[in-house]
């Protein structure tokens, strides 16, 4: 299930299940979006990106969906593994070379 933590929303899933992490972005003019994964004690790491002329993009076990009508971005992780446990951030490009990051969602994977 999904619960709200003290600072970050948290999504708890069982190993092997699919995860869906959601993000609402702020600017309808944004034309580029990225998902980052941040493990404890490390810097964010690029997962997947998508441009505004697409509504879906797939990577290895991950899919990003973009709904420009409602300014919504989602990250789907197939067959979630314990190594997927991390905080996930979406980011939008509002100006050249500058990304605006969302507040993040903590993903907890249980065996």
């Amino acid at each position: 299930g999904e619960s709200v933590g003290l600072h970050l929303p948290t999504l708890s899933v069982q190993e092997g299940d699919n995860s869906i992490i959601n993000c609402a972005y702020s600017n309808s003019a944004s034309d580029y979006f990225i998902w980052y994964k941040q493990e404890s004690g490390k810097g964010p790491q690029f997962i997947i990106d998508i441009r505004s002329n697409m509504d879906k993009r797939q990577g290895q076990r991950v899919t990003v969906l973009l709904n420009k009508t409602v300014k919504h971005l989602s990250l789907q992780i197939a067959a979630t593994q314990p190594g997927d446990s991390a905080v996930y951030f979406c980011a939008e490009n509002m100006d050249t070379d500058k990304l605006i990051f969302g507040t993040g969602t903590r993903l907890q994977v249980f065996p």
């Binding site: 003290l6 490390k42 500058k98």
Partner: protein, 114 residues
């Protein structure tokens, strides 16, 4: 190849002291960014350097914060007269800067002001 490196990894300082945080970007990356991340929170943009252009300082929270970059290499973030609310992880990222918005992050410097 080498990624973005930051030093020190941890810094504990007394309130009122000045600190300098260092970032070594990926070689050839023209864009460099500094962010602040408070415990359990998202990334707060501080400052952005692109080549020889004037830096975008719009995210610096006060005049106690400043940053410099030498050409397209090392950057230092300086916090003067540190306050307890400055305690956070300071992340640096670099980007090729042209036709790519992907930013590559360093491991961060954890700053604790006592």
């Amino acid at each position: 190849g080498a990624g973005v490196s930051q030093s020190p990894s941890n810094k504990v300082t007394e309130k009122g002291k000045d600190v300098e945080l260092r970032c070594d970007p990926i070689s050839g990356h023209t864009a460099l960014y500094w962010y602040r991340q408070r415990l359990g929170q998202g990334l707060e943009f501080l400052i952005y350097f692109q080549g020889n252009s004037a830096p975008d300082k719009s995210g610096l929270p006060s005049d106690r914060f400043s940053a410099e970059r030498t050409g397209e290499s090392v950057s230092t973030l300086t916090i003067q007269r540190t306050q307890q609310e400055d305690s956070a992880v300071y992340l640096c990222a670099s980007s090729p800067g042209t036709s790519s918005y992907e930013q590559y992050f360093g491991p961060g410097t954890r700053l604790t002001v006592t």
